[in-house]
């Protein structure tokens, strides 16, 4: 079926049989919740759809529905995610396995509807598992896998997954959908009795009343442990999904031709296809290049990446985000996990186009800097127009 990334998510959510959807429109995410509303109104999805008045309320409703045992979903973007942020933390720290699609978009001001990853990365300490999709197919696949990961008893944390604005959200491609029975076999229905918080008058509990300094660290530590276990669960979810779908198994990250690479670039999201093309082009010219496509950003697969590329001579990172006063989030995090400097590139902010040529340029630039023995901590704003 030919689907945009947004519609692919909606089809995934339908296949996953989400039971409560609470959502508020925001460009460029709106198509997701429009399509889901369409499914619900046509009776193709047995779900309650709450047309809330804000994203803050959307997440509050999802959390509360999940607390009462209903599989819950929402989608948002940029300003909406920032507005929702208090409740995003509430879901993560309260361990409500909600899932959410985030169409990554530049935060204003000035107004912009174009792509950037700063919105989703600003939620990185919220207790959510965070993933990024490469294609509409992967958006569909991830929408289904997200529920399985979130609801896994070893995890029980919410999952958000990003789709790059426009280039993925609004770009149509062929998406293979799974038969409903196949999805049902992969994703059993949610057993509320296994939730860490289940609000039920038959077994009354109080959730979230005061907790003193004597116990809070232990509560946080439980979440830390869940995130450690989540890595294996994410890989299992990907492996089992691969079995039912025949699609590549991509859990924490995709290792693209890094085996013998002398230069590796790490990136995430929809432009990964262009990075792979750049890698292929450079390889055809005799340069042993490789790419790591980060699928899962939280938990950050630092140890796994160290094993995969820790010894590669030249490593470059491409961040489509920025943490002011610190740098690109992924570059800094990779550098910290590897215990070495990497060449950190900031590119494509505010939706500026990134082409295969840009990625070839970035890889060549990193090589050149390395040859110049510029091993110091270095950040390049790629394509910055000087003097503007």
């Amino acid at each position: 079926m030919i689907l945009t990334g947004n519609h692919a998510v909606a089809f995934g959510v339908r296949a996953a049989k989400a039971e409560v959807v609470a959502a508020y429109p925001i460009t460029p995410q709106t198509q997701i919740i429009e399509k889901v509303a369409d499914f619900v109104e046509r009776g193709e999805m047995n779900a309650r759809y709450i047309r809330v008045e804000s994203e803050h309320s959307a997440m509050a409703a999802c959390i509360s529905a999940e607390a009462c045992g209903a599989r819950s979903f929402t989608a948002t973007s940029s300003q909406g995610l920032a507005y929702m942020s208090e409740m995003v933390f509430w879901a993560g720290l309260g361990r409500f396995p909600v899932t959410m699609a985030v169409v990554t978009r530049t935060l204003a001001p000035p107004w912009s509807i174009w792509n950037e990853h700063t919105d989703i990365l600003a939620q990185r300490d919220s207790g959510w598992i965070i993933m990024m999709c490469e294609s509409a197919q992967e958006a569909y696949d991830t929408a289904i896998q997200a529920f399985r990961i979130a609801e896994d008893l070893r995890v029980l944390q919410p999952v958000m997954y990003g789709l790059d604005a426009i280039s993925l959200s609004h770009t149509a491609e062929n998406v293979n959908l799974l038969d409903q029975e196949v999805v049902d076999g992969y994703l059993p229905s949610l057993d509320p009795n296994k939730l860490p918080v289940y609000i039920d008058p038959d077994r009354p509990i109080t959730f979230g009343n005061l907790l003193g300094p004597d116990r809070m660290m232990e509560f946080r530590h439980l979440i830390k442990e869940a995130f450690e276990r989540a890595k294996a669960v994410i890989n299992e979810a990907a492996a089992d999904y691969s079995k039912i779908s025949g699609r590549p198994q991509i859990g924490l990250f995709e290792n693209y031709r890094c085996g013998d690479a002398e230069v590796v670039v790490l990136a995430t999201g929809a432009s990964s296809g262009d990075v792979k093309d750049a890698v292929d082009n450079l390889r055809s010219r005799g340069l042993r290049a490789g790419m790591i496509r980060l699928k899962t950003i939280r938990p950050f697969p630092g140890e796994e990446l160290r094993k995969a590329i820790g010894g590669v001579k030249v490593i470059a990172t491409v961040d489509r985000d920025y943490s002011f006063g610190f740098g690109g989030v992924l570059g800094r995090e990779l550098s910290a996990c590897l215990g070495r400097y990497v060449f950190r590139y900031i590119a494509g902010l505010g939706g500026r186009d990134l082409t295969v040529g840009d990625f070839e340029g970035i890889i060549n630039d990193a090589l050149q800097r390395s040859e110049e023995k510029r091993e110091r901590d270095e950040e390049v704003w790629w394509g910055l127009k000087e003097g503007e």
């Binding site: 409560v20 309650r48 709450i50 809330v52 509050a60 509360s64 009462c68 009343n209």
Partner: protein, 302 residues
């Protein structure tokens, strides 16, 4: 139906040993509310005094499930609960938001308005202690004119926001006011609300000894004076019709109201109120009664 003490369940669902201040009217009202609502109830509580009143984990004074929620999110949370219960086919469970005046009149009004516009099927109870008491008495939209708070040290300059009227403007099926000093009037309204579908709103005036600055044993007395002086009007609104209830019946006749001064003088928060300030406050109240009188007459015609 007239509610009598005998109609109130003997069972307790909100237990003693909680962390409420002495003389807390809101906690007393929660205890009574749960006696009326019974065990098949889910409450969602945003940030407010009653988030603290529950005391420290792992203990809880509540025998019904409580979902604590962020400040602005009470009505959205209840909407989510209602949706989940519906999709799960769970019936005959009362879903209740129990929120303070800050979480209702100020930060929570957006979510509440949204839920009201969607006519979500739950009961929203605002216990109104007329300031941010949980954080130490800062003024809220529900603080009356002239009251001293820590952020209005010479007394609030503005009128109290009229939330019940705002809820009536949403045309939801049931709106009522109540006061903790008249528990049976409150219980009767809650009981009635339980028989109605859609969003039901009860605005419950809850005197607060530390915030209003009176001694704890005066909680009931202060609440009664709020009503008998006409400062707080007990009524319900249903299908476009206003009805005065309890001691507020008959108080449209100004001569039957006790002097406002009797209510003000009991409370330290009005101690800085000038003659002129008291006059303005009286005017606020008279204006509300005048409007009310008109509404009563208009609706009795229909």
């Amino acid at each position: 139906m007239v509610f009598t003490l005998k109609d109130l369940a003997v069972d307790e669902y909100f237990l003693p040993g909680n962390a409420a201040c002495p003389g807390c009217a809101a906690t007393l009202a929660l205890r009574i509310a749960l006696k009326v609502l019974g065990p098949r109830t889910i409450i969602t509580i945003p940030a407010c005094c009653c988030s603290v009143v529950q005391g420290y984990y792992p203990k809880s004074p509540s025998r019904v499930p409580i979902l604590n929620m962020a400040f602005a999110a009470a009505a959205a949370s209840a909407s989510g609960i209602v949706a989940a219960l519906a999709i799960k086919g769970k019936e005959n469970i009362n879903v209740v938001s129990w929120a303070g005046d800050g979480g209702t009149a100020d930060i929570g009004i957006q979510a509440l308005s949204g839920a009201a516009e969607r006519n979500e099927d739950f009961i929203y109870i605002c216990y109104d202690n007329e300031a941010y008491m949980n954080t130490g008495t800062q003024r809220s939209g529900a603080t009356p004119r002239g009251a001293v708070t820590t952020t209005t040290v010479t007394g609030k300059q503005e009128r109290k926001k009229n939330i019940p009227e705002i809820m009536i403007a949403h045309d939801i099926p049931y709106v009522a006011t109540a006061c903790t000093a008249y528990p049976l009037d409150f219980a009767e309204k809650l009981k009635k609300a339980m028989t109605i579908k859609g969003l039901r709103y009860i605005h419950l005036l809850s005197p607060c000894p530390p915030g209003w600055r009176f001694s704890a044993e005066k909680t009931v007395e202060v609440g009664r004076l709020a009503v008998t002086t006409g400062a707080w009007i007990l009524y319900e609104w249903m299908e476009g019709k206003y009805t005065l209830t309890g001691p507020s019946r008959g108080l449209t006749d100004i001569s039957r109201r006790k002097p406002l001064k009797e209510y003000l003088i009991m409370q330290g928060r009005f101690s800085k109120l000038s003659e002129e300030g008291a006059k303005k406050l009286q005017e606020d109240i008279d204006l509300q009664w005048k409007r009310f009188d008109r509404l009563l007459r208009n609706t009795s015609d229909t």
